[in-house]
């Protein structure tokens, strides 16, 4: 408290900030980044453990008969059924009859997908889920567990694993579970069509919520509150290992206990469990081990950052149902494959443990990152380094704020900004005099205890004057491109209103002076948000693919965003000109960026981390300069960290991840296609599943970035 009330101490703090903020913020960022990445190193993270003692994992021995003959029977029957169908689709009718003949309450659930955009398929798509409820004989039917398997046709199986094994395993386990007397919760067997959409429809119907794009019929029957769900993606062959997929919608993760449970039980049945298809290294403390775990961690974060569910389990998280996908991976080569029977024992064990649950999962972590299957990084471990990274920007903002308000401060501080500027200059290798800080109104009527500051002040004020006189520096280097849009007019009016209050541009130092820029960038954000919907509504006649329309539409809005600093700086009457202090713009930008990143980090740490890692250094460095070379570099860096740029980088990364053998050009070419696909998927996720990623990008990341984009165009 003393710091805030004692003016003397405050002066010291302010002076320290002004003097050291540059070095300090760079240091903070680097320390934060290194620390964050170092968390994958074994001694810095923690071993997983069970918090929920009700689970009693692995204490019970399997009830399945030796060899599990019914599994083989179902596998063969299913194969025969599939081969009867020309398209090799999963035989829904047959599955329905099988479940029914087991004596389970079996139902069909129909739903309709209305495509959000006027897409080539204008007709609605009808889907059908099948589900069966095994009622707990001695329980109260107030709680339920879900075992789900996506129904995939052979056509869709090119990219994804087939789920025939999952269906056979589900049927075999259903027949086994039916005989068991120990169920305290109902078990729901769900076979969903159209991947996540089917699950979404079923969950919506189960919880009586509705969606405008996935219209689900009412459920003919339901059970109690769903405690957990296990999604199975298993091929009909032997599997080499089980890959556990956790990442859900909007980066939500299941409770860590559920993951631990799956890992523990697969270990017990000696089926290797992996994360992101990567096994745990033997020696995690070695350098190789660290590299391995770091890569696993980054891969997991990469998946989580997208905000898209990595499997059917991802939709359950929306309803606070802990869920994960067990994906069996079959490798043709090698003999170390394990039979499906062992996988069945893993699944059985998981369900028996879940059956022991007395409350919802709540004991263990919901916010964590995993570097391997047996280590975890909790929110308490990853927040401090992340905070350091973001605080670097906020500290810079604080320093800028103090600089712009240095007239309020005691004048003994005057020395500090000058020092800082020199540092900046030396750091950037630039010696121009025009770079001086804009310390407005400082000259008038303040007594200066230090005599040696006066020459400096003179120089600064002369700098100010010269700036006032200098006409616009940035004249069209690039074509003004695609503008003349709506926002230009809108903002001009808005800005005029604001400007009326003050005719002396240089005197506008309050936060109010940057409001036009802020308003403008948020309007552009709104445009980006609505653009896909509006554009696809108006362009059905263009005979373009929807994905193309969306990509080009977004690009147009983005270009408008790129051009807006030009538009705002057009030569107008002197008193109408919008002159925003670049420091203030940057200061506001950094604060908004800090707020955004912290807010996002609480929902999706991976997204926040990647955004912080790329945008914080650029946003800290950005400033107006007359050096064309430097400015081009700055603008290029800004372009790379723009939401579009990040999306493109993500596309490039995805392309290289999938096929690493491509040349650079081929990668870039494919990345464009991938960008289109990513953008389209983001939007589909947004409309069908309420994914936030696109909304965040257009309302949080884009406006913040636009603020920084405006900075190089400001007067200096």
């Amino acid at each position: 408290m003393g710091l805030l009330t004692d003016t003397k101490q405050r002066q010291i703090v302010l002076r320290m900030i002004l003097r050291y903020h540059q070095r300090l913020s760079i240091l903070l960022y680097i320390v934060g980044l290194v620390w964050f990445l170092a968390l994958a190193y074994r001694p810095l993270n923690a071993g997983t453990y069970f918090s929920e003692n009700a689970l009693l994992p692995g204490l019970v021995e399997s009830d399945l008969p030796h060899g599990f003959p019914s599994l083989n029977t179902y596998t063969d029957l299913l194969k025969a059924e599939i081969s009867k169908d020309k398209n090799r689709r999963a035989p829904k009718e047959w599955i329905f009859k099988q479940l029914q003949s087991l004596g389970l309450d079996t139902y069909r659930h129909n739903f309709t997908i209305k495509y959000p955009f006027k897409m080539a398929i204008s007709q609605d798509l009808n889907g059908e889920n099948i589900f069966a409820i095994l009622r707990a004989r001695r329980g109260a039917s107030t709680e339920a567990l879900v075992m789900s398997v996506p129904l995939r046709s052979a056509a869709a199986q090119n990219q994804r694993t087939s789920t025939d094994g999952g269906i056979a395993l589900m049927l075999a386990l259903a027949s086994q579970f039916r005989k068991n007397t120990f169920w305290a919760k109902d078990v729901i067997f769900l076979l969903s069509e159209f991947e996540e959409v089917g699950v979404q429809a079923w969950l919506d119907a189960y919880h009586e919520s509705s969606s405008p794009y996935v219209i689900a019929d009412d459920l003919p029957a339901r059970s109690g509150a769903i405690q957990a769900a296990i999604n199975l993606e298993l091929p009909s062959e032997n599997v080499r290992y089980l890959n556990l997929k956790l990442e859900g919608l909007n980066g939500q993760l299941p409770n860590l206990d559920l993951f631990n449970l799956a890992v523990k039980l697969s270990r017990r049945e000696s089926v290797p469990a992996t994360l992101q298809h990567r096994r745990d290294p033997h020696d995690q403390e070695s350098w190789e081990g660290y590299q391995h775990t770091l890569r696993t961690m980054l891969k997991m974060m990469w998946t989580q950052a997208s905000g898209a569910p990595s499997g059917n389990h991802g939709l359950f998280h929306r309803f606070h149902i802990e869920a994960l996908t067990i994906e069996g991976v079959h490798k043709k080569k090698g003999v170390r494959n394990v039979p499906l029977e062992q996988v069945a024992r893993v699944v059985e064990g998981v369900f028996r443990s879940l059956n022991n649950l007395l409350e919802r999962f709540h004991q263990s972590f919901f916010f964590y990152i995993l570097p391997s299957t047996d280590r975890y990084i909790s929110i308490g471990l990853y927040m401090p380094p992340f905070a350091l990274m973001v605080v670097a920007g906020v500290l810079k903002a604080l320093a800028l704020w103090i600089m712009t308000h240095s007239d309020v401060e005691d004048t003994t501080d005057e020395k500090a900004p000058q020092d800082e500027t020199e540092e900046e200059k030396s750091a950037s290798g630039e010696g121009e005099q025009g770079e001086e800080k804009e310390t407005d109104d400082q000259g008038d009527g303040k007594d200066k205890p230090k005599g040696d500051t006066s020459p400096l002040l003179k120089r600064q004020s002369s700098g100010d004057k010269s700036k006032e006189d200098t006409p616009e520096e940035e004249i069209e280097e690039e074509g003004e491109g695609e503008q003349g849009d709506l926002p230009d007019h809108l903002t001009a009016e808005d800005l005029a209103d604001l400007e009326d209050q003050d005719f002396e541009p240089i005197a506008m130092t309050g936060v109010l002076s940057v409001m036009p820029v802020v308003l403008m960038s948020y309007l552009l954000g709104l445009m980006a948000y609505t653009a896909p919907y509006v554009l696809t509504n108006f362009t059905p006649g263009l005979k373009m693919k929807t994905a193309d329309v969306i990509l080009y539409g977004i690009l147009a809005v983005f270009s408008a965003g790129l051009a807006y600093p030009y538009l705002m700086n057009r030569k107008t009457a002197h008193e109408d000109r919008i002159v925003s202090d670049w420091r203030l713009v940057k200061c506001v930008g950094l604060i908004v960026q800090g707020l955004t990143l912290f807010a996002v980090s609480l929902m999706n740490i991976s997204l926040a981390f990647f955004m912080a890692a790329v945008s914080v250094p650029v946003s800290m460095a950005v400033k107006p300069t007359r050096n064309i070379f430097l400015r081009t570099i700055l603008q290029l860096a800004l372009l790379i960290v723009s939401p579009m740029g990040v999306l493109f980088i993500a596309a490039v990364a995805n392309t290289t991840m999938h096929n690493s053998s491509l040349g650079l050009l081929a990668v870039l070419w494919q990345a464009i296609d991938e960008t289109k696909q990513l953008l389209f998927l983001l939007l589909v996720d947004q409309y069908l599943f309420y994914s936030w990623t696109y909304t965040l990008a257009s309302f949080a990341f884009l406006p913040t970035w636009l603020l920084f984009w405006a900075v190089p165009f400001c007067d200096n």
Binding site: L56, R138, F182, A184, L358
Partner: protein, 351 residues
Amino acid sequence: MADVFGMKVLLSFALLGAAFVFAGNEEKVQEFFKSGHTNNWAVLVDTSRFWFNYRHVANVLSIYRSVKRLGIPDSHIILMVADDMACNPRNPRPATVFNNAKQHINVYGDDVEVDYRGYEVTVENFIRVLTGRLSPSTPSSKRLLSDERSNVLVYMTGHGGDGFLKFQDAEEVSNVELADAFEQMWQKRRYHEVFFMIDTCQAESMFQKFYSPNILAVASSRVGEDSLSHHVDPALGVYVIDRYTYHALEFLEGVNPGSSKTMGQFLQVCPRHQCISTVSKRTDLFKRDPDKVLLTDFFGSVHNVELLQDTIKLQNVTLDSSSTTCVKDSCKKKAAPKQTLQYAEQFPSPF
């Protein structure tokens, strides 16, 4: 009053009326009345619920089975079980509770009389049962109707910490409360001797605050130690019994009603290599030497029958030591002795 009591002692222990005292029988008589109690009670408490605490229910039911086998009738056992494991839907063997993976004994077998079950097992009910402050409508099967000649076995199991024992996941009894409850019992003449046995983590802490006389206590672990479970039944998927109780039962199974095993031997049960925790005992409040106290003084209700040819002169144990002993006939002639014992008021009498 007191001489009536003296007669009761006589009647219950020397039922065969024709008894004549001879000097040679003195030792036998001493032996016969050594313990000083006339009836036995047991309060057996499992304080924890939920399926994963199966072992605690198995613990308490095992002790119940043992004391019943050794002669304490259901009417003298207050059994408190906080959850119904036998009927838990998760139990693959409905209506049974086993304390061993080999399933030798179904401890929830025939004729189990649970007096307080489920949510009736609360700290308040427990303390009320001990101190006798139950509402008048409470049936006698749910009351601890002990008197100053009662030996009471109190067994508790559940989840505990340093200075407390958790009840039902919602409340706990502290060691101070428990000590005060025993003191109240003592002042109300509700016991002659108490054997307090507890199997929980940091169990020792529960008897550290005791200050009432005639209490012998044993606990499964020291402060700072955990009490561990013994083994899992893989068919059930739960731990079925705790280590201390397991080994205590092993010992008790070798005891029959006429056994001469002593409390001293029982206190040696479960050394550290078996329990992993250190079994802790408290003997300072107990006046007798545990090595000379029969195990059945607490775990059984043994009605000895000794056939003597002679009439013996019995000391009236309820009177002051100064007062002389008397035989059935001679007592009446004497003036009523000064009354030294009286019950404390329990409920304010309406009359």
